[in-house]
Subunit: 204 residues, 2 copies
DNA sequence: ATAAGGTTTAACCAAATGGTTAACAAATGT
DNA sequence: ACATTTGTTAACCATTTGGTTAAACCTTAT
């Protein structure tokens, strides 16, 4: 009974699981809710993914695999550090505005299960900072940017870009923004963040 | 039967609850585990806190109340913007190195329960950005710092300081740091982050 | 047509979980 | 001394939850 229809059952499950796991986390998610959302019997979840843990892993891996290409725009292309920062900030923020649950989901589950990231690290395509580090050192030597530890710089970039999504409730509460002005705030960061970073590191 | 001993039962419970909730979250925490850790009968949890939700709220409020004073070092003192940033970065990082679960716990639970923060906001002492915003505008007019939206600046400061704790697994994996070099990395941020920000905004 | 294989369902199960109860013990006020 | 309140425990309970089973249902190859 192959489904040539729009979606195979296995995909329906993964889709539903994604939605439930990403908004409630591993511990908060219920298999029944996933089954309901996928419009199938609960037993099907086990038929296709054996158990909750494996279903979760499938969702998590797919989520993480969306993050990696984003990071490669900054890590593995050949442009200048300034261009890397501008491209990444624009790309990342644009992308995450479409997938707002993603950053929190990944951070939360990575913190919940310490050795989860070890599995990921064995995958090919796991982000590697070496090329970025070399480029930073290079531009420092050339006098294009001021001396800074490349790790510190990289995680500053990451921090400034990810935080608006992780800290959404904090941002809304502290600065009295409603949903609309929160979105404007994030939107304006597509360029503001890059300017902020480049201002800090660029030699004049 | 008042306990004049080292710790009252109620405090033991809160202590144990703090430890379990902060490392596993509301959904992942088990009442039995809390009881075991507090060395008391599970019924005592309900005797003192009625149910899981209320016990959790007690823990969460206490956790959040540790964060607020940190923020007031940047929001409500009278020093220059530069000094605010240097003090906050030093204080916050020092404090969180002693309470590494706190940032993730707060962020995670705030994202889990949207209207949780509304309750907090009614409390007196809830962080207010007005004074900080005024000071930033003032220094911009005086030509001490470059033009920047005060909200953007504030959340940049927050992002750069909180991220090392939220993203610990990411940092360790991406930059191949063990526990020791991760701690050195965070330690060095006590001054690096402030320099990074001030570099970006200060007029030369 | 029908046997064989994968796919789907309803009903079921054991364990875990938050919460309750009733009896007991320790303080405290009178 | 003793009655009353407060603190504590073991046993219990109802529900939820992840997971299983056995039968039914399609689809396809022969």
């Amino acid at each position: 009974m192959k489904k040539t229809k729009d979606e195979t059952t296995e995909e329906q499950i993964l889709e539903a699981a994604k939605s439930v796991f990403q908004s409630k986390g591993m511990d908060g998610a219920r298999m029944q809710e996933i089954a309901d959302k996928a419009n199938i019997n609960k037993a099907m979840l086990h038929y296709y993914y054996r158990n909750k843990e494996l279903l979760f892993e499938a969702v998590f891996k797919q989520a993480f695999s969306l993050l990696a290409p984003q990071l490669n725009t900054i890590l593995n292309d050949d442009s200048s550090v300034e261009d890397k920062i501008r491209h990444f900030t624009l790309n990342y923020t644009t992308f995450m505005m479409k997938h707002p649950y993603l950053p929190n989901f990944i951070i939360q589950e990575l913190n919940r299960n310490e050795n989860f990231i070890l599995k990921l690290k064995q995958n090919t395509g796991f982000p590697n900072l070496e090329k970025f580090k070399a480029k930073v050192k290079d531009e420092i030597n050339q006098g294009i940017i001021k001396p800074i530890d490349a790790d510190q710089l990289f995680f500053n970039i990451l921090a400034l870009n990810i935080f608006p999504f992780l800290g959404k409730p904090l941002i809304k509460a502290f600065s009295d923004k409603d949903e609309k002005s929160y979105k404007e705030f994030v939107e304006s960061r597509k360029t503001e963040v890059a300017n902020f970073i480049i201002n800090s590191i660029k030699c004049k």
